[in-house]
Point group: C2
DNA sequence: CTGAAAGCGCTTACAG
DNA sequence: CTGAAAGCGCTTACAG
């Protein structure tokens, strides 16, 4: 059996030159009769051109995607969405995982640049000086996902307004004594902007003194902070910066025999699938990760075609009303 | 700023030929003094060779990975593990997502073959005739993950024994009337072997007539099947072929006011992180996805180096006792 | 230990 | 509408 066929072989079998076969694949002029001959050979031999041998092409039709982990629901959604968008438009998606290692992330970006990809999408945990340097040295279009990047193009979640939405909701439903479990400020988006939104939302309903805790992103962190809150106050609501933290709150409250939402309301951010599995269903706010991937892919292709784009795009969020917040008015 | 540097340019700046620079990267003979000159230029310009321009190399150092979805916890774990293993050994991982589309999966495999990758890891939901045809036509080493493939190399979960373990557990804890929510038989591993294990395990405790349902892999499917089971019988236990299906069962049972495990025990397969968040915690069985990725990557590299390998490797599982099964003895 | 030359599988002006 | 030729960024025998 033919182990692997090249364009030259296909050309020969079809009785043309590889120039013509190349044109066949790249939308150049090929007479209908010729086209059909080529097509027949391609089908018979299951030929597909080597995307990466297009060394001389101006466009590689490859888009690189750099992600901090492969092991997150949000990242999975974003990549799936990017991949679908690009695949439908005849682009190859090249995924590079940085495994939460900032040096590896930089290296991945470098490699993609040297690979001559047409564009790079970066979902980063933090933008450093080194990132800046690299971005300045390259002409390749780059889009930053989920982090606000003032010196370039970015797609971000609307953390402030999402926070405000939740803060107002808790205020409007008549809560008075609120605990907040947030994350550290190194995460600009969640640690700073989302928290500020929540605080402003609460304040607009006269709640000026929520008890604020900070945690990492873990289930255990949520548990620990919930215990601390319960020791220091008697809250009627706990707002958690992520659903995972809220899972921790559930665990502790249920262990202590406190009822959700009768005794204490709980709310999160994330809209993870599993949030609706909890009892009671978690009230949460879902960011549109599929939308972020879609917009990111769309934007990078627009940049490549030199079409006009926005510097910053803000992705929708959706409030998901579960059964974990009681109306106390 | 230099937009992009090639090996020829690096060579010139270092005062050598690209032959030498190539050797520098591929471990050929380079005098120490020369090596240092090259290294200096590389660092200064942040040069990295274009992995995909190695058209003439016998080895591409690229391994392709085909997955049915990017959007699953299990897949995420497997890819993360593969990627780490290969990265550490100087291989590039090329991930192709088939998005649950069997034609796309076949196309992805074809493309990887034409890309001249050194090996392909395939995590498939089903091995078809077309797969066979492709595998036979290529010399490229291929490892099948999670499906038993008699005509080639595979790494599989121990679905039969895992199923048996759960079936016996349900029998041993004194259950009598069991519902089983499985998946379709096109998925050999889960749809056939896992189910058979469960049935045999149950049978060894005298339970010969469980009510068997089939579903896709979805949360909704789990709900639908649970409703059907409840209409047709009054079970004291429901065994679900995946945790996600078990989540669906939880949902329906809780809606109907049936208590887990007092009224009905529930058990799943998967060991998803979120299973421990449920109330009560789900009793489940966890397969070693990281181990599967590791072994898959290790095996494909061994095949490339023509070292001896096993035809079939079976990955560990771990029984995780939650609180969703009642001892009725 | 290093260079000159041919070639990998493809694309692209340029003729015709 | 198609072919001949040069070239993309790299690797690899083969000399020296």
């Amino acid at each position: 059996m033919p182990k692997k066929i090249t364009m030259a072989v296909v050309a020969e079998m079809a009785g043309v030159t590889k120039s013509t076969v190349s044109r066949y694949f790249n939308g150049g002029y090929v007479k209908k009769a010729t086209r059909e001959k080529i097509q027949k050979v391609i089908e018979e031999y299951n030929y597909a051109p080597n995307t990466f041998a297009r060394l001389k092409a101006k466009e590689s039709n490859v888009i690189g995607v750099v992600v901090p982990t492969l092991n997150s629901k949000v990242t999975s959604r974003v990549i799936t969405s990017i991949d679908r968008y690009l695949r439908d438009r005849n682009y190859t998606t090249l995924i590079k995982n940085s495994d939460h290692d900032i040096d590896l992330e930089l290296l991945n970006i470098q490699k993609l640049i040297h690979l001559n990809v047409d564009g790079i999408l970066i979902s980063s945990i933090a933008i450093t000086e080194d990132h800046h340097d690299i971005f300045e040295q390259t002409q390749i279009p780059i889009v930053i996902l989920a982090q606000d990047y003032e010196d370039g193009i970015s797609i971000i979640d609307d953390d402030y307004n999402a926070g405000k939405c939740v803060g107002e909701y808790i205020g409007r439903t008549g809560h008075k004594k609120v605990g907040y479990i947030g994350v550290y400020e190194t995460d600009e988006a969640v640690g700073v902007r989302r928290r500020q939104g929540v605080l402003d939302g609460l304040a607009s309903f006269g709640i000026y003194d929520p008890l604020i805790k900070k945690s990492d992103y873990s289930f255990l962190g949520g548990q620990k902070n919930t215990r601390e809150i319960l020791e220091e106050m008697k809250p009627d609501a706990i707002v958690c910066a992520t659903d995972r933290l809220a899972f921790g709150a559930y665990k502790v409250l249920q262990e202590k025999g406190l009822r959700i939402p009768e005794d204490i309301s709980v709310v999160g951010f994330g809209g993870y699938d599993e949030s609706s599995l909890l009892t009671p269903e978690l009230t949460t706010l879902k960011f549109d990760s599929y939308g972020m991937g879609y917009l990111g892919a769309e934007t990078i292709l627009k940049m490549i075609k030199e079409e006009p784009i926005s510097k910053k795009q803000i992705v929708e969020y959706e409030f998901i009303e579960g059964k974990s917040v009681k109306n106390r008015t």
